[in-house]
């Protein structure tokens, strides 16, 4: 490993490390515009010049283009190098406009910082400035090309890193222009990152335009909860309003970037209709009064109908603290444990995934980037967990083979093999690939169960075109050194998470190393599965209400009306209740119907933790204290001219604290009292769930900790002998309805964002050309789809990248799809009409 000396400090770095990175490790930050640790060097800006005094390279050179080598002696403070950098800044400023006061980058602008650092104050060049016309780049990004210093970061991120092509470099030499061929919304769901990486103000954040300077914001490290990956973010709040969200570097989760759903999904927290007062029916009351009333009601029902007459629903978007406190609450009261999952199937799938993910198999997104073969089963990364697609693209750039087995018309920003098979055929298709690549002896080494799994799993996929394509894929898999299996949990069958884990085990036995990565539906699905011991579901609760055994329902940050497949049935059940208690921060449908409503705090207002889909416990600090934004109170004018001590609309409390207060009132004498201390709650969690024992909760912002269920308890290869052959189940007269996710428009919290609503696409039904021609339907025709409880009207899109025998529809905000009685949904072919 090369050893070099920078400014008198010695450092040893890996071969291939650039001098600029070696210096950064010593804490010496060499000026840079084009170099970005996430994008690598390009040598476009020339501002990272340093003097090489001794060694293989001599003189003033670019530190981002020079590999660290043995014997180098580098000076960053050398006069010649400093003078060179000063001139570089001066010529970069030659065409830069004189607009810092009206530029949103001002205050956190790299160019501004370095101009000041380089001492350039007065423009010496008297010639005219080059100008460019700007473009409309859509809802998220504001363009101002005059500010460009041609560092190429945006194009390198947009095209090379993320794989989208609609933004790039136009023109040549000193006329180089970064933009699109024509005006229009940027197509990439990662477009917001060009705002973060632009070293000057060419791309600025449009939704937060002019709202404040960096120094004005209350900023804090937080987490993104718009999918299960749990990317790290930094929040900015001002005047009681969440204004902006940026990516926060995370070594193992998201790296330097986040997706646009995460970046612009947070507006639910400022929603003008967000309920901020406690309510009894429609009357607004104080929180304490509502808690008292709720306690009386609960005591009444408990005395009349027994402790099991009140059911609780939690949600997977709630933090660990809320989920745990709800469970603790129910246990102390002797109620049934709360339910976190919509359907029993979903509960089972997630629990199996959580049980099977062990320390050796689990991989992070950074490890996925290093894989040389990625096999995604029942996963649609761009739509379900966008940042995963970027991680997969980095693997692709390192020449990995990527295969997706999924019935939906999956799009990824790189070349990949798509095997479109029906949900029933995912498992046989997967095992056929694994059997083709793993020799029987590998399974033999793993024991009897593994051998049974190997022997009974289907070896061939019957569908000829897919089978032919699998030959080449199997060959690649056979040669791979680090294969990773990505398994979705939304559209797959109950056994698929197990089959994926077993396949990963076989691959590891054969290849020496393999990874497993599950995708889950929501930010804290993993936490819910770890904490809840019962496999109850919303469906069970609704049935109990209908039977009359449940008289009260308590929803903690849960809105079953969004996800329960049968809207009418749920509405009727709720109407039958004696007590309908809702705690939430969303203006949800359930919140409007609530008999008793309690306003809770969002992630940005409290200190919380979430467990992402790889079992990583992550922490967020509060960004601000909450309350109604000043802009909403004063309707855009100046703030009200009154003094007051409290925060207007600041009554919301963390749901777990409301629960604790409620429990302390209704608890019988002698029962344990709940404290309002977070550390006390965590010590309860650590006591009840030993896997959380090593979570360092006392720190201000603890590092992530990965938790996995104990090794060796789970039965491996449970699905041996159960996987059916593929392609046999298909009936020609029916189509299976698959409900998918879309990047924008299906995830609960982000659908409240007014900016994401503008980029949502209109929901449509996807169908394969084969089925469409059988039905005589044409692309872009309006069709009606009959469901159990009514019909849906939407546009038909015929795509050849999806499985025949399947129709795909998004669980879209704009689509009242909750008319389904039973999963899976089979639609008779003749019933889909124009």
């Amino acid at each position: 490993m090369p050893k070099l000396k920078i400014d008198g400090l010695e450092i040893e770095v890996e071969r291939g490390t650039k001098v600029i990175e070696a210096a950064a490790r010593l804490g010496i930050i060499i000026p840079r515009f084009c170099f970005h640790p996430g994008l690598g060097p390009v040598g476009a800006c020339r501002v990272c010049a340093v003097k090489f005094e001794e060694g293989p390279v001599k003189g003033v050179q670019m530190s981002c283009m020079t590999d660290a080598q043995d014997g180098m002696v580098v000076s960053t403070t050398d006069e010649e190098a400093a003078d060179f950098r000063k001139h570089v800044i001066e010529w970069l400023m030659m065409n830069h406009p004189h607009d810092c006061p009206v530029c949103d980058e001002g205050g956190h602008c790299l160019l501004q910082d370095l101009t000041v650092a380089g001492g350039h104050g007065i423009r010496r060049y008297l010639g005219k400035k080059r100008t460019y016309n700007d473009q409309y780049l859509g809802v998220f990004v504001q363009h101002e090309m005059n500010r460009c210093i041609q560092c190429w970061r945006c194009r390198r991120f947009y095209q090379e890193f993320a794989g989208y092509r609609d933004l790039g470099a136009l023109q040549i030499a000193h006329h180089t222009y970064f933009g699109r061929a024509t005006d229009g919304q940027l197509e990439s769901p990662f477009s917001g990152n060009i705002i973060d990486i632009c070293p000057t103000g060419v791309y600025t954040d449009k939704p937060s335009r002019f709202t404040g300077r960096r120094w004005d914001f209350e900023r804090g490290p937080s987490l993104c909860i718009h999918c299960s990956l749990g990317c790290h973010i930094i929040t900015s709040a001002r005047y009681r309003e969440m204004t902006r969200l940026e990516a926060r570097f995370s070594e193992s989760v998201n790296g330097y970037f986040i997706c646009d759903r995460g970046r612009y999904g947070f507006y639910y927290t400022n929603h003008p209709e967000r309920p901020r007062r406690a309510r009894i029916r429609t009357e607004e009351v104080s929180l304490d009064q509502a808690i008292q009333t709720a306690a009386q009601k609960i005591i009444q029902i408990n005395q009349k109908n027994g402790p099991k007459a009140i059911a609780c629903l939690g949600s997977a978007r709630s933090c660990v603290e809320n989920q745990a406190m709800l469970i603790r609450f129910c246990r102390v009261q002797g109620w049934n444990e709360p339910t976190y999952f919509e359907t029993p199937t979903m509960a089972k799938k997630v629990k199996r995934a959580v049980a099977r993910l062990d320390e050796q198999l689990a991989v992070s997104m950074r490890e996925i980037e290093k894989a040389d073969f990625i096999l995604a089963v029942g996963a649609d990364p761009v739509n379900e967990a966008p940042m995963l697609a970027l991680a997969m693209r980095q693997a692709f750039r390192n020449e990995a083979t990527i295969v997706v087995i999924d019935p939906r018309p999956v799009f990824l920003p790189f070349e990949f093999e798509h095997l479109p098979v029906a949900p029933d055929d995912l498992e046989p298709c997967l095992t056929a690939l694994i059997k083709g690549a793993v020799h029987r002896s590998a399974a033999e080494k793993m024991g009897e169960e593994a051998l049974r799994f190997y022997d009974t799993a289907p070896a061939e996929y019957p569908d000829a075109p897919i089978k032919n394509r699998m030959v080449k894929i199997t060959q690649k898999l056979r040669q791979s050194r680090y294969p990773v299996i990505i398994c979705g949990t939304s559209i797959v069958r109950e056994t698929t998470p197990d089959v994926a884990a077993d396949s990963a085990l076989l691959l590891r036995a054969a290849r020496g190393r393999a990874g497993l990565f599950y995708l889950m539906s929501e930010a804290n699905t993993f936490g819910a599965a770890l904490l809840s011991s019962e496999e109850g579901s919303v469906m069970d609760v609704v049935e109990s209400i209908e039977k009359g055994s449940v008289k009260g329902l308590m929803l903690v940050e849960s809105d079953p009306f969004r996800s329960f497949p049968d809207y009418e049935r749920l509405k009727q059940a709720v109407d039958k209740l004696d007590l309908f208690l809702v705690m939430d921060y969303l203006p949800s449908f359930a919140a409007r119907l609530a008999h008793l409503f309690f306003p809770t705090q969002t992630l940005f207002e409290m200190e919380t933790s979430f467990v992402n889909q790889e079992g990583r416990v992550q922490f967020a600090t509060s960004a601000y204290r909450g309350g109604i934004p000043i802009s909403q109170i004063s309707a855009g004018g100046h703030p009200l001219r009154v003094f007051r001590r409290d925060i207007p609309g600041g009554e919301s409390q963390p749901a777990w604290q409301i629960l604790a207060k409620l429990a302390n009132i209704i608890s019988l004498p002698g029962r344990e009292m709940f404290s309002l201390s977070k550390n006390e709650l965590w010590s309860w969690i650590a006591k009840e769930y030993p896997i959380f024992a090593n979570v360092p909760i006392a720190d201000e912002l603890p590092d992530d900790v990965r938790v996995h269920l104990a090794q060796g308890r789970e039965k491996l290869f449970p699905s041996g002998g159960q996987i059916r052959s593929g392609g046999l189940s298909r009936e020609n007269s029916t189509l299976e309805l698959v409900m998918g996710d879309w990047t924008f428009g299906t995830e609960e919290l982000s659908t409240y964002s007014k900016y994401l609503q503008q980029v949502e696409k209109e929901p449509c039904l996807f169908m394969s050309p084969k089925d469409a021609s059988m039905l005589g339907l044409k692309d872009r025709e309006r069709i009606t789809l009959p469901l159990d409880k009514g019909r849906l009207e939407m546009e038909l899109r015929i795509v050849d990248t999806m499985a025949p025998g399947v129709i795909v529809m998004p669980k879209h905000r704009q689509l009242a799809w909750q008319k389904i009685e039973k999963w899976p949904v089979k639609v008779a072919m003749g019933q889909i009409r124009k």
């Binding site: 406009p97 006061p101 009206v102 100008t131 222009y177 002019f210 709202t211 300077r213 004005d216 100046h638």
Partner: protein
Amino acid sequence: MGTIKNLAEGITALLKGLATTLKILSRKPVTEQYPEYRRPLPARSRAVIVLTRDPDGEERCVACYLCSAVCPVSCISMQSAEREDGRRYPRWFRINFARCIYCGLCEEACPTLAIQLTPNFETSGRDILKLVYEKEDLLVNHGGKNNEYNFYKRAGVAMVGDKGTQINEDKPVDLKSNLP
């Protein structure tokens, strides 16, 4: 001997002082009686803050937040917004004169010459809220100490006027042409 000398010196000093008093007594007094007489102060004296307008009569303030950042007592607050024509302006702008120490750092920080201190210092009052000035109270109809400067003519951004029309600018690059 010493005592007599000291005595003589003391008496002389007393008489000298008395002579001066008598001399001044006969002069016209220089004391100015405020508020009967209000002395014209130099333009640079620092008292009540105003927001000036540019030569076109538009608000000069672009709500860049620099004055509020530099203010050592945090008495300035504002919210920037975008006007329909793209111009950046303060939606509201508030100075709490009960807190202001008239140090003039805001004026120094202002890149558009919008915020200026004036010689008018007569603002005391009993109701503290009356010392909280909103934008309407601060805006004046002139350019203050400089009537010529117009920030937007030099800014080089399209917020006011088209690209390439401002002082010392080339026409915008034609993306469809290969000519140098």
